[in-house]
């Protein structure tokens, strides 16, 4: 069987699930799909940065900023739904651009530290400017512009599909090779200062804007935001665990990982929900376990397994990269 067809049909199935569930799905299905799509956006976004050697330890910064941008735009200026999403895209892009410029030619560790600090910093700002953000008490979305649950669910599905398309387009462009070089050269060439800032800025802007979009749609979905919710460590963690669990630096990995992470999250909530902190403990262990034992994630594990099996059955050897798309 041709692996290409399998992966193409899987992608199509994912696309249909994302876009048709809001139309036909049961409430539970719609809810699960919504959360999965949200995580797909965040995971693909995180993975885009990681592909360029940039590790974000504060993806909630983008998520939260997007949420606040949307709610501020709507509550203060009556901006309609779709326009508010655009606003959050712009806000996320600006933050991403700023991050790239601030960390400049410095190597990945500074980027990681800065993202960590930015998410903490934004949280403090959100708490300390109650006139603007509602402060620690949070803010409710003015219901006037609410487009209906269906539209919001649909928007998240479109966001997920769109984000995957962007990632796909990038993987097809020359950016892909620039990123590979940037990752490979982390140790040596960065010291010489030959870090292609242009690529770096572009990727953080794109990645930041889509992560913000996820935050914005989530706010429309929940109708409420506060600093703890917006800049929740949970967001940061799931957006990095999903790609790592699925398969970092690949197209399908973050998507697979987002599905798996959502399911694991739900399973632990159902199974261990009575134990406070259990689900994040599981995520922490997954993170450690993946780094140590499954560096290529589920995707790599499957590829390895198939590779071994195809060798055993002496059929045509399959390159490890098959099924990438």
């Amino acid at each position: 069987m041709n692996m290409r067809y399998v992966s193409v049909s899987l992608w199509v199935a994912g696309l249909l699930l994302a876009l048709l569930t809001p139309v036909f799905g049961s409430p539970t299905m719609v809810d699960i799909t919504f959360r999965t799509c949200s995580l797909v956006v965040l995971a693909v976004s995180w993975n885009l940065m990681a592909s360029a050697g940039l590790i974000s330890l504060g993806h909630s910064a983008f998520f939260g900023l997007g949420g606040y941008a949307a709610i501020l735009a709507t509550n203060s200026a009556g901006t309609p739904f779709w326009l508010s999403l655009l606003g959050s895209l712009v806000a996320g892009a600006i933050l991403g651009l700023g991050l790239a410029l601030i960390t400049g030619k410095m190597r990945g560790i500074y980027f990681a530290i800065t993202t960590l600090a930015v998410s903490e910093g934004l949280r403090v700002i959100a708490v300390m400017l109650p006139d603007l953000t509602g402060g620690a008490k949070g803010a409710y979305l003015a219901p006037d512009n609410f487009p209906g649950a269906f539209t919001v669910n649909m928007a998240m599905g479109i966001a997920a599909v769109g984000t995957c398309l962007i990632a796909w387009a990038i993987s097809r462009s020359r950016y892909h090779f620039a990123f590979r070089a940037m990752r490979a050269n982390e140790g040596a060439s960065q010291m010489l200062g030959i870090y292609p800032l242009k690529y770096r800025a572009a990727i953080t802007a794109i990645s930041g804007s889509v992560a913000s979009l996820a935050g914005a749609v989530e706010v429309w979905h929940g109708g409420y935001i506060d600093p703890a919710l917006a800049f929740d460590l949970h967001i940061t963690i799931t957006s990095q665990i999903a790609p790592i669990l699925g398969g970092i630096y690949t197209l399908s990995g973050p998507v697979l990982g987002a599905v798996a992470t959502t399911l694991i999250g739900d399973a632990t909530r159902i199974g261990l929900g009575h134990i406070e902190g259990a689900s994040l403990l599981v995520f922490g262990l997954i993170l450690v376990g993946c780094v140590l034992y499954l560096p290529q994630g589920i995707r790599g594990g499957i590829a390895q397994f198939l590779d071994r099996r195809s060798k055993r059955s002496a059929s045509t050897p399959m390159p490890a990269d098959a099924g990438q798309r």
């Binding site: 990681a50 590790i55 190597r107 982390e186 134990i275 994040l280 403990l281």
Partner: protein, 291 residues
Amino acid sequence: MDLIPQAFSDAVLLAGLYTLMAVGLSLGFGVVRIINFAHGEMIMLGAYGAFWLFTLFGVDPLISLPALIVVGYVVGWLLFKGFIAKVLDAPHINQILLTFGLGLAIQHIAIILWTGNARSATPVYATSSFLIGDVLVVHGRLVAFAVAVVMVAALIAWLRWSETGLATRAVAENRAAATLMGVDVRRIYALSFGVSCALGVATGVVVSFILTITPFMGFPMLVKAIAIVILGGLGSIPGTVIGALVLAFAETFASYYLPEGSGWAEGIAFVLIIGILILRPRGILGEAVET
């Protein structure tokens, strides 16, 4: 009333604590070349250790300090052997994610074991105070400062005058050359990571009677420690002291002089990190970063 002497005294006392908080992180990075994103969790564990020993058995945190330091060392050593040692030659991303994941796991084990409730150890000196002129000094803060000074001085003395301390510095400066002197680099790594974690735990013990203890306390402290460390130069102890002074003074004066200052003070670490990165004082950041 003039607040400057009071703010000055508060800032100095806080700087001592901050130095202790960051010096372990700095040591771990300077020697092992890995930023331990679980360092905040070591502080949290130390605080809980002191709290439980005080609450259950009435052991004063200052009495339990030495024992908890030993425990912290052992925990750090085990973390190194069990996890960190496996990613020493791995890409950066693996190292960062591993320590981040470890921190996450430790934090949530703490939540499971001890719930998210806020607690604090309350020995007599935690809240009692005295006046020097117009300046109010809380005994607990003074005690914390003294502990920090003693610990940091001991660390400096160890690095300067002991055989192993010298070897540790040699590894930090030049791994290969240190090996050629007969230094077992892996052993020094494990040892420094242990000492680094022990210093984190010591910070927690001291903090236990100053701040509220929750499983979440580690993360903001980690951010502050990182700010201090990159401000002063990674791996440099005098730099760490300077960084701690800067952060402590900035926070203290902000909370005295800005409207709602104590809230804004929490964001100063973030501003400092961004500020340093924008100004890019490569000289201060030090060579240790560019492995």
